[in-house]
Symmetry: C2
Subunit: 652 residues, 2 copies
């Protein structure tokens, strides 16, 4: 059989010998399916060529690892989501602010101390509204060691350790009553930034809402992070009081702008709703003016001011009062178009991009120009509180006409910016140099945040972008009135941009996410030495050595020193009396990767996850006489079901 | 350019013109990437032809729906997982036994009544160890209406409504202290079966473990389900007492065996551990005998016995005592090989397949033969309690030599059975007719359960099988010491079986799952009429009509009648006094699909999910004076951040 191929196919003709070789499988009489049945499958599954490309760009065979991790906030699911790229498979949900029993997070052991470490208004909190994750940075690049996340509803910050993917600390201050511009880190993770959103009297307490202008305030908290300890140090943290403008997003400067912090606001009108009281809803009231204020903060100077003691302590937090911030020239405002959203510093640190939300532009502010204006005190006015205002035209490099509803911006390694355009439901790619859109790609639907690989660092990778869409509508098989979100992976390596993959987000509502090259993370796979407590990060004093298991009755209750190994617990019979306090100290003495056991105590709401080498302490009351099985919850071995025992609670 | 193609390539040669056309994109000068770059991508991403086939068999383009839903138990994550096939994307996690804030499940509204409806030993439970989901059946086929799941640790059964994917009911009895053979349904969902696993004194309470033989028992509960109400009726439910043999899995007969129930056991030895007390661990003690007992129950007759009142009420449950079961010929035993696992009735109901776990066989029992032996009382002995025993050889059709550690079996539409082989880490495909293995495929690693499409119904679909592997080891990018499980999708339509896709299970540890054709489900997308309460399944008496929002102070507290619509709550200012009880009645008055709002009340641990049309009631104490923002947590619109208000708690 011979065939002539027209030269119009030249881009592919050179591949033809290889294609034939591939098609023939290099073997005579290759069985059906032995070779690549591309065409047959395209027809059978109604796949276009674009679909085939997308499939082959994302499919990840068994045993192959993804190239990138995407860490996405869980929104009001309260946990952190870890996704692999380019496969778009979810690798893990990490318990952060909500109890999660599979990981044994908040079901008996010392993880409960972390979960319960911050109350608010005297209330225990068992959920969060997580918005923005921030990977730890060194020199403005991700270092793969920690990730920080916020809680908008009950303002707190959590520290998740990326050596074992476990939440190690939660902090929070009653200085503020909500946050949104959080968490964001400075380029060497000296500070984790948490910015209030909905104004309130600083430190909690009541003031009439009619005294909004006088008594309601925002604040930006700088939580000091210690890289040696891997913990935030509340005592070395401080805050700056801000006017009641509903601060929104924040970002730290980098390289030339390292030491500056930028934050936008959405309610300079100082509206606060009251739709049954004769005032317009916030929706209308906060949108009246053409401009709000971009906040420009000099963090280096603020740090010095705090160190010099020019603070007032409110709710345990050292606060630089607004007047002090003005007097010390720490803070200036620049107009930004109407109800903005998105504050994103460019990779080289020379500019800040703000999305217009109700405008059609992104505005590009020049960081060095603003720094100069502030240093030289070239102000053109003041706000009602006395905060100096910079001239808009002098502060900006320019604006880019984007489309309807630009929100957030991320960056690649080719000098392009990518902005999410919510109402128009596209990603707009534009040139930072020319301030012109070069391309748009549809999203499905109503994109919120977006992120390109390492896009908010000093050296983005380009290659992949994920659009995090808010409305899935008809994209997925129906699951009732509450739909998943839709994460769409987009190839930005070439032109045009190519939609690769729709991933339903099955639990939670992510807002922001970050994408990090997988080889930057170095997680452990077992805890060493045996008896390790991940929360104290040392061998636990109560760790049980194999062969030394025992039960001891002491003044404070019954201490059970237990080990877990395939496929039994020792001891497997625990005898106590009704009313006893039981202190269980259990060590998984295995060291093989994935040799995880669980430990559930029936009817007592206790479940532990015992990874290899890990030690857990649990204290509970055996308050009711009875016979309660306990057993291994994590399938570990052929005789997993026999890995069980009994808690025998004798009547008094 | 001309080319000769050798005839050895004949299977593919006929495709060549199409391939060329495809390669050229049908257009002159097709841009790079305009056609299908199969070969280039194979090289760039190191994909084999098998990988290409697998990618094209699973890739699902934007807007295309999956063909099947897989419902998987969450294990000790306590929730239900919904996965789409063949894409293997997770579509939803449904809150069942654990509070889940994204869905507003257990964070203030009436979902808390469902979650908290069953206490055990006086304790509130906020987690479960979910093992086996059971889709509701009509005539032995899935009808897509409900799904039932169990809690092994705190034995309970939950009913999830598949019209809205919400948990509507949880029931449980303190008759038993754990379960495992649960949930399983009879072919018309008259009953949901829950079988105890670890023996204990019936009804709770204490007895020394040394009185195991006399006082410790198992039981099988038959929860009566009412299809009109969509609810289990505890008052019409009953149980049968069983010896303390650690019953394991259960299955209901179908077609010719409809009316029979089968259940295996793993500890006929009546061992109970005591490894610090001079007795062997359960692991060893329960594995000593060559045989355990398959339990064969006559449900029709048991139902009649219960109806006739021949029961004793224990812990509120009507129980047919073991002696009554014997006297009424309700129960017989058949030997089954050593520590078996897996009880699976074949699609035609003529046989039951039991996995050997520590044996190398599956044993195929003949259901009609066993029924006949029982009716004719052809017994060959009794157990220590007097339960009659059938002859092994007379009861079986035969055995199939499978491999090391056969567990569970599922079925296709071609007369084949597929058994998971844990230790050998394969799926074994074997002929039900010949009782011979025809093929094995590797799994990665250590497969637990498996399921083929509709495989446990009277009419399986074949086509796809999912291996649910317990050890992921090196399959995925590392996420710390606690690894995901690995679900592997396998194409069983042709021969050989083909591994298609590795899916990490990022939260929870599924045990069993079921796969249902997507078109059998008819979920709603909005709640109608406006004001609908999913838990009472009617318009709520407190539903708020748009335009009639108000705040009313009554004897029992402050009633706030609120609506939610893009982008405001009305009222958006709520004024109460410290110490007030607040009753919030909020209705989402939208009717557009996906127009979901959330409602978080800062610092009060309240978060609601308000799907279109839905109404929620929340009661909480405003116990501390202060200013607390509330706001919409589910991104709904361009002005989502402005969809906020204030709870103002004035000092007394």
């Amino acid at each position: 059989m011979t065939m002539t191929i027209a030269s119009r196919c030249s881009p592919f003709a050179s591949l033809l010998p290889f294609a034939l070789l591939a098609a023939c499988g290099g073997r005579p009489n290759a069985p059906a399916g032995g070779g690549a049945d591309v065409l047959a499958l395209m027809q059978a599954r109604n796949l276009s060529e674009q679909d085939v490309n997308a499939a082959l760009k994302t499919y990840t065979p068994t045993g192959r690892h993804d190239e990138y991790y995407q860490f996405a906030s869980g929104g009001h699911g309260g946990n952190l989501i870890v996704i692999g790229l380019p496969s778009m498979r979810i690798l893990k949900y990490v318990g952060v602010f909500s109890p999660e029993p599979w990981q044994g997070y908040g079901y008996g052991d010392q993880s409960g101390d972390v979960l319960g470490s911050v109350q608010r208004a005297g209330h225990t909190l068992t959920w969060a509204d997580m918005h923005h994750p921030a990977l730890s940075e060194t020199g403005g690049d991700y270092d793969g060691k920690w990730i920080f996340v916020n809680d908008k509803a009950n303002p707190r910050i959590a520290v998740v350790d990326l050596s074992d993917f476990v939440t190690k600390q939660i902090v929070g201050s009653e200085l503020i009553q909500s946050d949104h511009g959080a968490a964001f880190v400075t380029p060497n993770t000296d500070y984790v930034i948490e910015t209030a959103q909905y104004p309130a009297p600083l430190g909690g307490g009541y003031a009439p809402i009619e005294t909004w202008n006088e008594n309601y305030r925002g604040a930006m908290i700088f939580w000091r992070f210690d890289k040696q300890k891997g913990r935030i140090l509340p005592a070395e943290s401080f805050a700056i009081e801000l006017p009641p403008y509903m601060q929104d997003l924040a970002d730290a400067g980098k390289l030339v702008s390292d030491g500056w912090v930028y934050c936008n606001s959405i309610d300079v009108e100082r509206a606060y709703g009251g739709n049954l009281e004769g005032r317009p809803s916030l929706e209308a009231g906060a949108s009246q003016n053409d401009m709000d204020y971009l906040h420009v903060l000099n963090l280096r100077r603020a740090e010095a001011v705090a160190k010099a003691g020019k603070t007032e302590t409110i709710a345990g937090m050292r606060v630089i009062r607004l007047q002090t911030a003005i007097d010390e020239n720490l803070l200036a405002f620049v107009p930004e178009p109407k109800s903005p959203h998105g504050v994103d510093v460019t990779p080289d640190g020379t500019a800040v991009v703000v999305g217009g939300k109700l405008d059609t532009h992104t505005t590009v502010y020049d960081t060095m120009q603003m720094a100069k204006l502030i240093e030289q005190k070239q102000f053109v006015g003041k706000d009602p509180y006395g905060v100096p205002i910079l001239d808009f035209q002098a502060a900006i490099r320019g604006q880019c006409e984007i489309g309807l509803g630009p929100l957030h911006t991320t960056f690649d390694d080719q000098g392009f910016a990518y902005t999410s355009v919510f109402i128009e439901t596209v990603v707009a790619k534009w040139s930072l140099k020319d301030l012109k859109v070069v391309e748009k790609i549809d999203t499905h639907f109503n994109i919120g945040h977006l992120v390109a690989a390492e896009g908010d660092t000093v050296s983005p990778d380009g290659r992949f972008l994920v659009a995090m869409n808010k409305w899935a509508l008809d994209r997925f098989a129906p699951v009732g009135p509450l739909l998943p979100q839709n994460f769409q992976l987009i190839d930005i390596a070439g032109a045009p941009m190519q939609l690769l993959y729709d991933m339903p987000l099955p639990l939670g509502e992510p807002h922001y996410a970050q994408i990090i090259k997988a080889d930057k993370l170095k997680p452990i796979d077992v805890y060493k030495p045996i008896g390790f407590n991940p929360f104290t990060e040392a061998v636990d004093p109560f760790a049980t050595v194999a062969g030394k298991e025992r039960i001891e009755r002491k003044a404070d209750g019954v201490h059970v020193y237990m080990t877990a190994v395939r496929s039994h617990f020792t001891p497997d019979i625990v005898r106590v009396k009704a009313g006893d306090t039981v202190h269980l100290h259990v060590t998984n003495v295995e060291q093989a990767a994935d040799a995880t056991h669980g430990l559930a105590i029936g009817s007592h709401n206790v479940n532990l996850s015992l990874e290899p080498g890990k030690h857990c302490n649990v204290t509970f009351k055996a308050d009711r006489a009875g016979v309660y099985p306990f057993y291994c919850t994590e399938f570990c071995s052929a005789l997993h079901l026999e890995m069980a025992g009994y808690l025998l609670v004798e009547p008094q």
